[in-house]
């Protein structure tokens, strides 16, 4: 699983509020698209790597992993541009992509999920007017991040169990035979998780406005 996650360090980058980091990331993305020069993209890449490795003191492996994940895309972009436009444009486009991927990795590796979730909650605050509870949206984001690796692991386990009994691990058929049992597990787990949330007071949110009731009713 290549979900870049928080790498604890006592750095300035870690201390910058999550909202500011996300804003900076968005600004960087816009700037890279508005000022499409090779030198600009190269400078942005150098800057991003410097911030990540020297200021935030992240391990090289964290950034390398993200770079490897998009490696083939970069090669493909270069190749396509070399054939259709020119190598220079290709290099610039590839550098831009790499910069954004690494910048995003720096932001995720220096920001706790709970802080990120709080930004999402704040962004969703206006939705309160139409009845959405921002805390719930935040919880959904956290749950998604928590359960992606769990689901990948369950899928692997199903594939292994099928392989152990002579099933083939590849192709459309294998995909189909994995999806059905995985779905069953996901539904079961969703039920279990909702019980666990209830047991830990998911519905017990005193600091936020609550509907007026004389008695609490079970859900």
């Amino acid at each position: 699983m290549t979900l870049a996650l928080y790498v604890p360090r006592a750095s300035v980058v870690h201390r910058v509020p999550a909202g500011a980091k996300l804003l900076a990331l968005a600004t960087l993305a816009i700037a890279l698209f508005w000022l499409p020069t090779l030198a600009g993209a190269a400078a942005a890449l150098l800057g991003t790597v410097a911030v990540g490795l020297l200021v935030a003191r992240l391990p090289v492996a964290v950034l390398a992993r993200q770079a490897r994940a998009v490696g083939w895309w970069l090669v493909a972009l270069l190749a396509v541009h070399a054939l259709t436009t020119d190598l220079r444009t290709g290099a610039q486009v590839a550098l831009r992509l790499l910069t954004l991927v690494l910048a995003a990795a720096v932001v995720t590796a220096t920001t706790r999920v709970s802080e990120m979730v709080r930004v999402v909650e704040r962004l969703c605050a206006p939705l309160r007017l139409v009845g959405v509870r921002p805390a719930r949206v935040g919880l959904v984001v956290a749950l998604a991040l928590r359960f992606i690796p769990v689901l990948v692991e369950r899928a692997d386990r199903i594939r292994a169990a099928q392989a152990a009994r002579g099933g083939s691990g590849r192709g459309v058929r294998a995909l189909r035979t994995t999806v059905a049992p995985l779905l069953v597990q996901v539904l079961q787990m969703a039920h279990d998780v909702s019980e666990a949330l209830d047991a830990r007071g998911a519905d017990d949110v005193p600091s936020r406005p609550r509907r007026r009731r004389t008695q609490e009713a079970p859900r």
Partner: protein, 246 residues
């Protein structure tokens, strides 16, 4: 005395009486047509209560009744005098619940965040929250893992994390439903020791009979009824006798 508007419900804590323990009165439960519990009358005031019985006998349903995860189809369940049907929030603050599968009860991506979850729900201020989370993580040997992704923990550490997430909320009573079933011997022993050391009242559903050593009281459930209610020795003997004739 403060004047209370007529018709307003009293605050939960006004009527709560911890001396009453957990009471089940004429409790029955069915899922659709299927009767899973029938005619259960119990009062738990002991510090350590165990529940054993065959697969499908109704143990988990019984356990879930104790903190309002399941509301009985018949009868009432009272915790400190609070009805799980009408005061489920107050009940859940008093009764923590630990499930069998730690993966399903860890709901945040990293360790410390997950432990903090229940405190956020209770509206505990951030400073106090951080202090309590740190204290609990240190107590259960997870301090070095505070910022680690939960999915990288071992099975035993995950269960410890799940328990820490409940303990940090300081419930007066905790229900465990097969807390050691997915653990190896070493981790099962750690969890057993942890449970033994708790100040809280504890109700444990389990198939691992040695977990019940030193318990005050053990119930044997069969076909939705409590068929034995005794000290661990006699209760386990009754359970073995029951299973021997199957």
């Amino acid at each position: 005395m403060r004047f209370r508007r007529p018709g307003a419900a009293p605050a939960a804590d006004d009527v709560a009486d911890p001396a009453r323990g957990i009471e089940l009165r004429g409790v029955g439960h069915r899922y659709g047509e299927r009767v899973v519990l029938d005619g259960v009358d119990l009062t738990f005031r002991e510090a350590r209560v165990g529940v054993i019985g065959a697969n499908g006998s109704g143990k988990s349903t019984l356990a879930r009744l104790l903190n309002g995860l399941v509301v009985p189809s018949e009868g009432r369940v009272l915790v400190d005098g609070l009805d799980t049907r009408t005061q489920v929030r107050a009940v859940r603050r008093r009764v923590g619940f630990v499930f069998q599968d730690p993966d399903a009860q860890i709901v945040h991506p990293t360790v410390a965040e997950d432990v903090a979850y229940g405190l956020e729900n209770q509206g505990v201020p951030p400073d106090e929250r951080a202090a309590r989370v740190a204290e609990v993580l240190a107590r259960y040997g997870l301090a070095g893992h505070a910022d680690h992704p939960a999915h990288l923990l071992s099975g035993g550490q995950k269960q410890l994390l799940a328990i820490a997430g409940v303990l940090v909320m300081r419930p007066a009573r905790i229900v465990f439903d097969e807390p050691t079933t997915l653990l190896d011997l070493v981790n099962a022993r750690r969890v057993a020791e942890l449970i033994a050391g708790l100040d809280q009242q504890v109700v444990v559903v389990t198939h691992q009979l040695d977990l019940l050593d030193g318990f005050d009281r053990v119930l044997v459930v069969d076909g939705g009824r409590v068929v034995e209610d005794a000290a661990p020795g006699p209760a386990v003997a009754a359970y073995r006798a029951l299973m021997a004739v199957r």
